[in-house]
């Protein structure tokens, strides 16, 4: 198990490193330069060059990367070219927003998807047919479109929830939950559909396993067979997909934040790209990669905990 975790950790560090290099190269491939952003519109070439020199943009790429990287390792992601705010502290207020949306969306879609999928597998027949059809439609719906429909139904028509805005947990826990509900539900529709399909397939496959017959042959009660043995067997693929879902919903949240005016990473990314805020773009890519890589790490460990064949292999 220790060797297993070590292997995965090395992979995680490697991936973050790759993201650092990729974002660095992308930023340097971008037309324009930070000097032009800092000097503002109408600056002369000499003014831009001076600004670039001050920012170190004219130094060799390797040395620039090293400076940025050694700062980043120490937790310093630099300051925004636009307003001079510290990028790390800006992103650390934004990350909880995006992470909350993605996490709750994963939890909601996981719970709904597992219940629906397992029911479809156990009941079969018409229930199964309906779930197949419904999940096929659910996973094809664009989340931002679902989001607008939910705003229309739950905010505009029913006045149940605020249409936009974010309330931090520290300000008002109830407000926090209310402000997250719409984006979470919008993302959870497709998520639940995918989890339901995985859970159904996994459960059907689990119930056909030979060891299930062994359990039947010694008179094990059906609930035990279904919800302890078969469900655990089916949970291995479900947990893998749940982790992938978290990553997918994290990205989906970036798209959907605009609709709900949530001050998350999505907004930061859009602003940074729109204003050519080079260090901010790099910062977002690195933070997002760290989140994804940590998720994959937790996921690997969870699967290993569930499946001794992975753990002891």
């Amino acid at each position: 198990m220790v060797a297993f975790v070590t292997r995965r950790l090395i992979f995680a560090v490697g991936t973050v490193l790759a993201a650092c290099v990729i974002s660095f190269l992308l930023v340097h491939a971008t037309p324009g330069s930070p000097g032009a952003v800092v000097a503002g519109a109408g600056a002369t070439k000499a003014q831009i060059a001076a600004a670039n020199h001050q920012l170190g943009w004219d130094r060799p790429l390797v040395s620039q990367f090293w400076t940025w990287f050694s700062n980043a390792v120490r937790g310093n992601l630099g300051v925004s070219l636009i307003n001079g705010t510290n990028i790390k502290s800006d992103l650390s207020t934004r990350l909880p927003v995006t992470a909350s949306i993605a996490l709750f969306a994963t939890v909601v879609s996981g719970m709904a998807g597992i219940v629906v999928g397992v029911t479809a597998a156990v009941r079969g027949g018409r229930v199964d047919h309906a779930v197949s059809l419904g999940s096929g439609v659910g996973l094809s719906l664009p989340t931002f479109w679902v989001g607008i429909v939910l705003v229309y139904l739950l905010s505009i028509r029913a006045h149940l929830l605020p249409a936009t805005g974010y309330v931090p947990f520290s300000v008002s826990p109830a407000g926090y939950v209310k402000s997250l509900l719409l984006p979470v539900l919008a993302l959870a529709v497709a998520g639940a559909a995918i989890i339901a399909r995985t859970a159904r397939t996994g459960m059907v496959a689990a119930l056909q396993q030979e060891h299930i017959r062994t359990l039947q042959a010694i008179g094990t009660p059906p609930w035990r067979i279904r919800y302890i043995h078969a469900l655990r067997f089916a949970s291995v693929p479900v947990v893998s997909v749940l982790g992938v879902q978290f990553i997918a919903l994290f990205g989906g949240s970036i798209i959907i934040e605009q609709l709900f005016a949530m001050p998350g990473l999505g907004q930061a990314t859009q602003l940074a790209i729109g204003s050519h805020d080079f260090p901010a773009i790099q910062g977002v890519v690195v933070i997002a990669t760290i989140v994804v890589v940590l998720t994959i790490l937790v996921l690997d460990i969870a699967v290993a905990a569930l499946d001794p064949r992975v753990r002891t292999a």
Binding site: P142, Y152, T220, R309
Partner: protein, 652 residues
């Protein structure tokens, strides 16, 4: 990778098959819908400039935000522009780049997978690590950063998306390519000098075709969604060019006063993705949508047969047992046999003779859709046929237990041996946790396991086949059953291990007075272990009696032929020139003749054998179903080496 639902790309459950056959399978409602909508969309998007009723930018502020009208079928937007025209004018910039992304993903993924599969470990490790990193990058953010670098150009963005998507494509296709290359006929072709290009073109690529088609459809849907998402947040085609994501963003601004505007674009976009996914499902052959409800096809035995007047020492008496597929053929017909306390009965025959179905019906564990449709199974004074699942549960484990064919898959891979033994011990023996642990250790010792502590802590995958079978036997003994049904208990094991398991079963019978039914095609097992034998052929019992009688003086030509096909030669006997094989195969259920079912393979068959043949008394208490039974004089026609004591028969 962010918005990309990768799990859609997990390897489809299909086998690599003939794509043409798959395409025929597209004639499902989902497949027809998928193909028609995508074709319609493609044609409509390419020809849009020719037929859309209004110019894309043509405004009519007096008709702004109208719902569907005769002039504007799908209504108008905030500037009075025709929604129908805008949706189809925007179709190509949605469909085209998405197709490009799919092409790029396969353009990279397929060659990489072929190369990695061909050049083995060194290259494969490199490419696989690379794609793993690609998969672990936050796709949406990276794409946004790329947009920052190259500007907003849907085609270029989709090329980059294709690069990201090539990672999951590569992963799935690599597995497929590797498994195809491992096939024997591909190996043979390579040994015969077929070049690597030719191998790929002739075997690997066609073998991947189905999965590529499934993936292509799924990726197309994913690419459309991502593209629309980007356009929705303003990174799509720029104003005044319409795009689907942009149209939805416009609609979201008017959702207060014109909610209708949401519908047309949303429906077209959703229909396109649904069509792609339906098409993928149809190609993958997931027609099993809606499995039959799990109704247990349990028998309503035609007429309650009265309890047979059995002798006191008879534990199980099966009479006229018939097992059939629901609305299908009969698998086991009118089988009768009895098992006495402390005796071992062997059920023998080739594969497909109904032995396993007979054995499983004793526990009510027939597969879905198969049921007992007649006869009775009297066990300890009651008929097990017709009992509900609830009534059968106390019988299973406590009265009748099962040892299955494949010990390696008969134990739950996710639980330790201790866990799998202690649960049933607590339930079946009412023991506490600590006591159950002691009993578990005792049981393992009883089945001949020495290293009890280690085995208790092991998971099934850490056990050898023989060890796993011992654990299975221990599990079967937890409820102290009176009857053990062993379905081919040694078939999956090595020869040396087989002997150990057989001697274990023999010891258990001696020590505990257990009755056992051994299902086997191996006459050696039967000769070794059984007191009584029932030979089955095509769902019927053709001969029964004590093991000595049946094996030494077989009367039915089938039994004699099975013995003749025996590859083991007893000591001091000359090795025969060649073994006799039984010509032909067991007729499939549903194709059984009205008369003797063995007649077509029998050297003694005559016209009279076309009549139904009854069982006649033979071997003392036993029986035979033959009107031309084998005698010492005719045996030579079947056996080219006549040794009295067969050890093993061959079949299946």
């Amino acid at each position: 990778m962010s918005v990309i639902p990768l799990e859609g790309l997990t390897e489809p459950t299909t086998r690599t098959g003939d794509l043409r056959r798959r395409l025929r399978a597209l004639r499902t409602p989902g497949g027809i819908f998928g193909i028609s909508w995508l074709l319609f969309l493609l044609i409509a998007s390419l020809t849009a400039p020719l037929w859309i009723p209004y110019q894309v930018g043509q405004q009519a502020l007096t008709h702004a935000l109208s719902g569907p009208t005769g002039a504007h079928w799908l209504g108008t937007d905030a500037l009075g522009r025709d929604v129908l025209s805008r949706i189809f004018a925007a179709a190509w910039i949605s469909v085209g780049p998405a197709l490009l992304a799919v092409l790029v993903a396969f353009g990279i993924g397929i060659p990489l997978a072929l190369l990695a599969a061909e050049h083995g470990h060194r290259l494969e490790r490199f490419t696989s690590r690379g794609t793993e990193v690609l998969l672990a990058l936050p796709g949406t953010v990276i794409i946004l950063a790329v947009i920052g670098a190259i500007g907003i150009n849907p085609w270029a963005i989709m090329v980059f998306l294709g690069v990201l998507l090539s990672a999951p494509v590569y992963r799935v296709l690599l597995g497929v390519a590797q498994s195809i290359r491992k096939r024997l006929y591909v190996d043979a072709a390579r040994v015969n000098g077929l070049g690597s290009l030719a191998v790929n073109a002739k075997y690997v690529l066609p073998g991947m075709a189905t999965i590529v088609a499934v993936q292509a459809a799924q990726l197309f849907g994913i690419a459309i969604l991502i593209e629309a998402g980007l356009a929705f947040i303003g990174f799509g085609p720029q104003v005044p060019s319409p795009s689907w994501g942009g149209l939805i963003a416009d609609a979201s601004k008017n959702v207060f006063n014109a909610p209708w505007l949401m519908v047309p674009t949303g429906v077209v976009l959703a229909l396109t993705v649904i069509a792609a996914n339906e098409l993928a499902d149809a190609i993958a052959g997931e027609t099993n949508r809606g499995t039959p409800a799990h109704r247990k096809g349990r028998a309503t035995a035609a007429a309650r047969t009265p309890a047979p007047a059995t002798r006191a020492d008879v534990l199980l008496e099966v009479s006229d047992l018939t097992v059939s597929v629901a609305d299908g053929p009969v698998l086991v017909s009118d089988v009768s046999f009895a098992v006495q306390s402390g005796r071992v009965l062997g059920l023998v025959g080739e594969s497909g003779c109904g032995k396993t179905m007979t054995a499983r019906s004793l526990l009510g564990l027939l597969p879905d859709g198969v049921a007992v449709t007649g006869g009775s199974i009297w066990f300890e004074g009651r008929d097990l046929v017709g009992l509900s699942e609830r009534q059968l549960r106390p019988v299973r484990g406590r009265q009748v237990a099962l040892i299955s064919q494949e010990p390696m898959v008969a134990l739950d891979p996710l639980f330790s041996v201790a866990h799998q033994l202690i649960g049933p011990i607590r339930r079946l023996r009412g023991a506490g946790r600590r006591e159950a642990r002691t009993i578990a250790a005792d049981l393992l010792r009883q089945v001949g396991i020495v290293d009890v502590r280690r085995v208790l802590h092991s998971y099934p995958h850490q056990l050898s086949g023989g060890m796993a079978q011992r654990v299975c036997i221990a599990l079967a003994l937890t409820g102290q059953p009176k009857l053990l049904v062993a379905d081919e208990p040694t078939t999956a094991l090595d020869v040396t291990v087989q002997a150990e398991i057989l001697s274990l079963l023999r010891v258990l019978v001696q020590d505990t007075g257990l009755s056992v039914i051994v299902v086997s095609h191996d006459l050696g097992v039967v000769a070794d272990l059984c007191d009584d034998v029932a030979v089955m052929y095509a769902g019927q019992i053709v001969e029964s009696g004590t093991a000595t009688d049946v094996l030494e003086r077989p009367r039915h030509p089938y039994t004699a032929a099975l013995l003749g096909a025996n590859p083991h030669v007893p000591e001091n006997t000359p090795v025969p020139a060649r073994l006799v094989s039984i010509p032909g195969t067991v007729p499939a259920p549903g194709n059984w003749p009205g008369g003797c079912r063995f007649a077509s393979r029998c050297p003694f068959a005559t016209d009279e054998c076309a009549q139904p043949i009854p069982l006649t008394a033979e071997h003392g208490d036993g029986s035979v179903r033959c009107i031309h039974p084998v005698s010492a004089a005719t045996a030579g026609a079947l056996n080219n080496h006549d040794h009295p004591k067969p050890i093993t028969g061959v079949s299946s």
